[in-house]
Amino acid sequence: MGLKDITISFAMVMIFTVALIGAGIQFASLNNADISIADNNEISTYQDGTNAAGKAYSVDINDSLNAYSKTSLDSDQEAFTGGSFLQPTIMTQTKDSFGNIISMIYVHILGGGGETGTNSYATILYIITGTLGILIVFYVYKFAVGKNPD
């Protein structure tokens, strides 16, 4: 998966999230439903954040495309060796929206948010470091015995 695929995947996830939550909010609004997904303030915050990141994303892309199309080269000038005018801001916006989505998943599915106890970031860190520990043992075994740890 290259940079092109990752960028498109970020954009697709952004569109999917905004569309799904927006449909849920509009459904409740149009039908006067008693329960709405917007009842939770955090969901509205995530929706607004992802929406703003998506709009800023499109504006940044337009700016980058304008910069690209208005670039000119003199006859004795060397050609560009990289797309430096395309790089920074687009990934910043996708990162912001991705952070929103990950926070939403972490808080509402994994039960995160607390600092102590079972509902804490520490649980996930324990799992990750435990897995790394197992991998280290495997590689020490591979080094010592000379076999493939798989």
Binding site: M1, I35, H108, I109
Partner: protein, 108 residues
């Protein structure tokens, strides 16, 4: 204490019946939605594997999530069937499945 011959509420109709069951057994709706989600996911994935040889599990998870979210949205029209936490978890599970789907393959 177990309740036998439980009296139904004064609500009529099928949605009233579901609302009364949901009020008495709060875990009924989450389990019903989980049943819908996993049934569509597993059956769709297996059917695709049988028909084409390979199955796309993340894609079927996303499809199952969208359908489950639609069912959960319909449940919000009658008060007392579903609570907001269950609704939000359904949506977030769908978004998580979409995230896995879009990052699980080359999109172009």
């Amino acid at each position: 204490m177990a309740k036998f011959n439980l009296e139904l509420g004064n609500r009529t109709g099928f949605d009233g019946l579901i609302a009364d069951v949901s009020t008495t057994v709060p875990s009924f709706i989450p389990f019903l939605l989980a049943f819908v989600f996993f049934t569509i996911w597993i059956v769709g994935y297996r059917q695709q594997r049988i028909s084409s040889g390979t199955g796309d599990a993340p894609l079927w998870g996303t499809i199952a999530g969208v359908i489950t979210s639609s069912v959960a949205l319909l449940m919000t029209l009658t008060p007392g069937i579903i609570n907001s936490e269950t609704l939000i978890i359904t949506f977030v599970v769908t978004i998580a499945m979409g995230l896995v789907t879009f990052f699980s393959k080359d999109t172009v």
